[in-house]
Symmetry: C2
């Protein structure tokens, strides 16, 4: 996986407005005005966010008269997830260490009551 793709993906996900847009698009296609409605910001601001998402390959856009319907493109999310999955062992290990500690405390109580 190209470094720049992950860069763009994670950078795009680092903004709550953009994550909210993706969440909305998970429910189906939406136009720019539909996407902009929930936010207390101007339409051009939302268009900029959409451009970031499109550049990151997280959305694609069609054409329906004046409207440019956006749709979620989830493949890049999988790339990000795959990167994170390499670290799964490290947070599971934390639980394991906690388990071990609790196990030791338990054993201690049995041995020296």
């Amino acid at each position: 996986m190209s470094v720049d793709v992950l860069d763009a993906t994670f950078a795009a996900l680092a903004d709550p407005t953009r994550r909210a847009i993706l969440a909305r698009l998970a429910e189906g296609e939406a136009t720019v005005t539909e996407l902009a409605a929930p936010f207390a910001m101007s339409q051009p601001a939302v268009s900029k966010h959409l451009r970031v998402l499109e550049h990151a390959g997280l959305i694609s856009r069609g054409r329906d008269a004046q409207r440019r319907p956006c749709r979620l493109e989830a493949a890049r999310l999988k790339n990000a997830m795959d990167w994170l999955a390499d670290y799964r062992g490290y947070w599971e290990e934390s639980y394991q260490r906690l388990d071990d500690l609790l196990g030791e405390l338990d054993a201690g109580q049995e041995e020296a009551p």
Copy 2:
């Protein structure tokens, strides 16, 4: 999960230097100079990256004389992964559509050879 935590996590992951630092720390604790060695940048630059990672809760730092050993803190990576996992269905759906298509082609061959 607080919005700002995900913001900081994804923003921290959006830089290749920082992802490389995390990858190095996955192999065990390391000092600042050890972490800085592979990179063609100054020590203060690496210290800044470490500050970003620490602020995002992705690393923690101990004290060993003049050294400040860094260790991976993977819990926040799990948070990011959990967010992404909500979209798993959307990229699997793409495979599903491909499967369906291949299935139809197959069925077509059987019905009309």
